[in-house]
Amino acid sequence: MSDNPILVIGGGPAGLAAAKGIADLGRKAVLVEKEEYLGGTPIKEKYAALTPDFRDAEEAMGEMIKAVTDDGNVEVITNSTVTSVEGSAGNMKVSVQNGGSGKTIDVSSVIVSTGFDHFDPGEETQVYGYYEYDDVITLTDAEKMLKEHKFVKPSSGEAPESVCFIQCVGSRDRQIGNQWCSKVCCGIASKDAMEIKQILPDAKVFVFYIDLRAYGCWEDDLYWKAQEEYKVNYIKGIVTEITKQGDKLIVKGEDTTMGRPMEIPMDVVVLSTGMEPSEGTKEMAGVFNLPLESHGYIGTIGGPLNTVETSVPGVFVAGASTGPADLEDSVSMGGNAAMKACAFAMKN
């Protein structure tokens, strides 16, 4: 039974949950994080509030981070990445690089929780004019503004009269190569829509969707609430293209329910950009030569019945590095991975 620490790579919700879980089981954990700060995407992308409970992202993540940094069992190494590994199950020697200097650590097992990157709509395949028109923004841009409790037209700084969200940008798209549904954008878009209506009650907010995917309790916590209480307009039909006329953006497409062509002037267009395997996820897959599943995420071996074990003994995975995942998924997988990693360490 090796009492080497368990390595957790990536300090987002999944990584924090895993590290805390390991510590609570009385074992040592080493949490390596690329950024200077912990908290992962919610902090990096400056989310305003978490989905679905609207808690202030910084405050909620702050508590989770504090629980880990205060726990003696967890050694946090920020600004660092894992660059190589030798040995095998039970006693792996990983080298952790921090800019110039680096060190090697003997670990008993590893949890990869390196998360996702938001899809960049500027790639040449997506032509909603994200880099051409200032008023075309992404979900993360919106979150940044909402974090400061304001929502303005980037081109003029004034409050917009009309805002619309376009769903499935960079997801469910064979041409772009991301065929999966990113699971969270419908929920996040509905939340953001409500937050915008809180700040700008008179603004007209639209959501253009193919099929609005608000799973489980998100259905009425987010979708119904947005539509019924905050009067967000949901229109079935994805926008085709955006052109600029004067200071307005013209959103063109088809209102499929009414079977009518649709050309609506908008002040701000928010692209609900989905998830893609993050750079970190790709790197770690390389370092630990973890086979990827067909969409490019890290493959697990048990299908739905074992979500955290990879085919490399002693290497576990959690959160969005295995596929689109919301906060509940990430934190739950974090805990599961912690348990399995500890069990593995005890047996080897």
């Binding site: 032509v127 499935c168 469910r172 798209d173 064979r174 041409q175 772009i176 193919i210 079935k236 039909g237 994805i238 926008v239 085709t240 293209e241 052109t243 600029k244 006329q245 063109k252 497409g253 088809e254 499929t256 079977g259 062509p261 649709m262």
Partner: protein, 428 residues
């Protein structure tokens, strides 16, 4: 097109039952609901045709309909076709099959890659073999199979336009095998037979000569490139045309094969090789001229002080990703100010002539409020441009027709880019 069966359930204005007036929306229950059966045989038939399988991928997101040029002036688009297929339409026997101009704007935006650029020709091939061919298209195909051009003009008159410049052009029609030229120029039907096309052709000859290009034309021996015939489903005729023209390319060795018609460019570049086994160094004339831009700039000393705008032809742009060559030429026209239309490059609006559309105006008129070319010319006029520049021979006649339709005569001229380039080169 059959409206769906359950839509005709009757809602009675006024209903009295046992003395009680139950008029109102609930009396719909008064009439037993019609049993509806989704007849998707049309969809099943279409997706089984080789080349048309991708119609089955559509998940009805409707991105395509917003991009469809026919939708702008009517009600059309892949999603709507898919919907009609679901409720009983058989596309093979329906006018809807013939409204698509194969402009591939929908293919550009479709997340499921439903490829109308392949579905429509494949479906039309089955329609043609089954005998479901619009009269206008039958007439065009008859002309092409009889005379080698869709106008029904005599093949012998294909080089008549060269009469005024007999000595400054090499006509290889009767030349010996092996006679070579640097540039083999595939003139095309509209340049050869249509009045306004002749103007552009003569301009092209002058530009070639002033650039000192050693070029030759196929003259009477040339036949239509066949792309439009392929797109209306006459693949057999297309094969004959491909073999005929390619034999001529083989007969006269050349470095560059220059075409002025994006449809010819598309056919020779992408589809001839599959049939003839040979690939040719084919370039569109805007690509050829922009590769000689410095020499051209030196020649173009007369200024052309006009506001111009440009229409990207679907078969040069979306089908073959060439957006820059025409713009390089336009930007080098001395004195011209270039204003882009809102719908330009990948998002360019279609002139309605592609995919057989040139010969389907009669049929399409029954389904649209105005012609696509009229809608496009309206947009050109709104830019305040004085000249609408084109580089596809189909468009000169279509847009000049449309200028009349929007009463913009005298306000907007339509010119082929080569005509403007030629106008900037002084005599001598």
């Amino acid at each position: 097109m059959s409206e769906h069966k359950y839509q005709d359930s009757v809602q009675l204005e006024q209903v009295i039952v046992d003395g009680m007036d139950i008029s109102g929306h609930w009396n719909k229950m008064f009439v037993p609901r019609a049993l509806t059966q989704f007849d998707i045989s049309g969809l099943e038939q279409l997706r089984d045709i080789p080349g048309a399988e991708s119609i089955n991928n559509c998940y009805q997101c409707a991105k395509c309909v917003g991009s469809c040029p026919v939708e702008y002036v009517g009600s059309y688009g892949p999603r709507k076709i898919y919907r009609k297929l679901q409720i009983g339409t058989n596309l093979i026997e329906d006018d809807y099959l013939w409204l698509c101009t194969t402009c591939k704007n929908c293919v550009r935006v479709c997340p499921k890659e439903v490829n109308m650029g392949e579905i429509i020709p494949a479906a039309r091939e089955k329609a043609v073999l089954g005998g479901f061919i619009p009269d206008e298209i039958q007439e065009m195909l008859q002309s092409v199979s009889e005379y080698g051009n869709p106008m029904g003009e005599s093949a012998r008159k294909r080089a008549k336009w060269t009469k005024p410049i007999k000595d400054s052009i090499k006509n290889l029609a009767k030349a010996e095998e092996g006679e070579s030229v640097d540039v083999l120029w595939f003139v095309g039907d509209f340049y050869a037979y249509h009045g306004r096309g002749n103007d552009a052709a003569l301009a092209m000859v002058n530009v070639f000569n002033r650039l000192g290009v050693d070029f030759g034309i196929l003259g009477e021996a040339e036949k239509t490139d066949g792309d439009s015939q392929r797109l209306v489903g006459e693949s057999g005729l297309f094969e004959d045309l491909a073999n005929h023209n390619d034999a001529l390319f083989e007969k006269f060795p050349h470095k560059d094969l220059v075409v002025n018609d994006p449809h010819a460019y598309n056919a020779i570049k992408k589809f001839y090789p599959g049939i003839t086994g040979n690939t040719r160094n084919v370039t569109h004339y805007t690509q050829f001229l922009s590769s000689r831009l410095d020499e051209l700039k030196a020649l173009m000393t007369k200024s052309f002080d006009k506001k111009v705008t440009f229409h990207d032809p679907c078969y040069l742009g979306r089908h073959n990703d060439e957006y820059n060559a025409p713009r390089e030429l336009i930007n080098s026209i001395p004195g011209a100010t270039f204003i882009e239309m809102p719908r330009h490059k990948e998002q360019s609006y279609c002139c309605g002539g592609g995919g057989g559309g040139m010969w389907l105006d009669g049929l399409v008129a029954n389904y649209t409020s105005e012609r696509l070319s009229t809608n496009r010319v309206r947009e050109a006029v709104e830019t305040g441009a004085e000249v609408l520049l084109v580089c596809c021979p189909y468009e000169v006649s279509r847009f000049e027709d449309a200028v009349k339709a929007v009463n913009a005569e005298g306000k907007l001229e339509v010119m082929d880019i080569v005509e403007v380039i030629n106008a900037c080169i002084p005599e001598g």
